[in-house]
């Protein structure tokens, strides 16, 4: 998909998302939000796999805390 087509797609999605939350913002704000999404989109995350593997935010948080403690003991 071309960048301009992506922009149009994201603009519709942003407007729909804001409307569902009952929020009105200017066209300028919508454009800024779309740019943010397009910048963050290629974050290299396998969303499907991650969603299958993850339980919820609490599970991820617990896993992360355990990982930090384990990593504190990594030796040369």
């Amino acid at each position: 998909m071309s960048e301009s087509a992506q922009f149009v797609t994201w603009t519709s999605a942003v407007r729909a998302s804001l409307a569902s939350s009952g929020i009105e913002v200017s066209d300028l704000h919508v454009r800024r939000l779309v740019k943010t999404l397009m910048r963050l989109e290629p974050a290299g995350v396998d969303v499907t796999r991650a969603a299958e593997e993850s339980g919820d935010a609490d599970t991820s948080s617990t896993d992360f805390s355990r990982a930090l403690i384990a990593l504190s003991g990594v030796q040369r």
Binding site: A13, V14, S17, L18, S21, G22, I23, E24, V25, H29, L33, T36, L37, R39, L40, P42, A43, G44, V45, D46, V47, A50, A51, E53, S54, D56, A57, S60, S61, D63, F64, S65, R66, A67, L68, I69, A70, L71, S72, G73, V74, Q75, R76
Partner: protein, 437 residues
Amino acid sequence: MMELPATLTGLQQALRRHQLSVPEAISAQRQRLARLDEQHHCVVQAMHDHDSPLSTGPMSGIGMAHKDVFDTLDRRPGLGRDQGEKSLGLMPAAAIARLQAQGASNLGALVMAEYACGATGENENFERCVNPLLPQAVVGGSSSGSAVAVASEMAYASLGTDTAGSVRIPAATCALLGLKTTHGLIPISGVQPLAPSLDCVGILVRSALDAQQVLDGVANLDLLQALSPQPLRIKAWLPDDGLQPDVATALEDFARECKVTDWIRYWPDHQLLTQLSEIVLHAEAAKVHATALQEGIASPAVAAVALAGLVIPEAWYRAALADRARRTTAFVKEHLRVHDVLLIPALPQPVPDWRVVSPGDPQFDVGRLLALHRYMGFVNYLGCPSVVIPIARDVRGMPISVQLVAKPFHERDLLAFASAVEVHRFGTGGFTKHFCR
């Protein structure tokens, strides 16, 4: 006017030698805070001990002032929005309670960017706080009042919070040591959240030994790792593009002096990790501020951070969190297994003036505003500790700082390294006094 020692550890020594008493020390610090705030505008509310300051305990006689984001026994914080309010029966924030249990006095609540949203201290609800090094220079945010209070010697130390650089950026603009602790090392109960997965309590001080004292007072000590018995091994990443030449030269000179033993030449992960940190930041800020966003009463500063979180797909957010442990493990094993410290930039540019990073000013440059946190947020995503310290002066005499990252819970290694740099480069009395005033 009583002359107070330059550092927290210096004051502890003076108290031990009975060169002054605890009440005298606290009284002198309160007077100093009130006097200097007339110039620097960083105090929201001066505070007084409920009882006489404890005369025992390692922190007795030490005055600190903290970002206005912590609950105290009788006051709800103002969060950069207002003056806070008296409220009886609150549980004080655990970090503040720990310091007070060791005798430290809380001198006051300090100005901050509204709801901790901002890479500078710009906040229309308060008079702009003044950088003690150079009045036209920006004070980084969001823990802006903390940086000004410590750099101007109004307080020996300050606790702030760091979600995407909010302790380290202000430290870098005011020639301070700014420590972002490992996620979970210091309890965040009683602290207003911005993005709980990224939020950390951090420490701003003028000297590395002071940082160690404060850290020992607030951290979960069972998690904090002992100092490495071996000489520290340093790895460095200084990106080829994006660093202003004077900053690049200062960091390269410093890296050589530190005898860096390995370099990351090309590191695309930085961009990826930064994106992931932003996804988490926006998504969680939107949840924290959902009501204000929906009612249309969120301030521009809050909306700038939180609104994007309403439109970021939930799957991205869940994926970013689910991938976090794996990515942190990969980062530590690749960069911090053979080496103890990763040396990276703090700010990619010299400390800018307010006019360059203040939206609405004719000289505003959005690129320079965004650059303030370019090398910050990814460290919060990884959860690792990092410290920012000044290492050189730019042409105006303002600090050029470096950032040092370590394995989780290895703050002692970072502070020992920072202390060695401090003594070697600046002698005694801390970092800050060696920069322009």
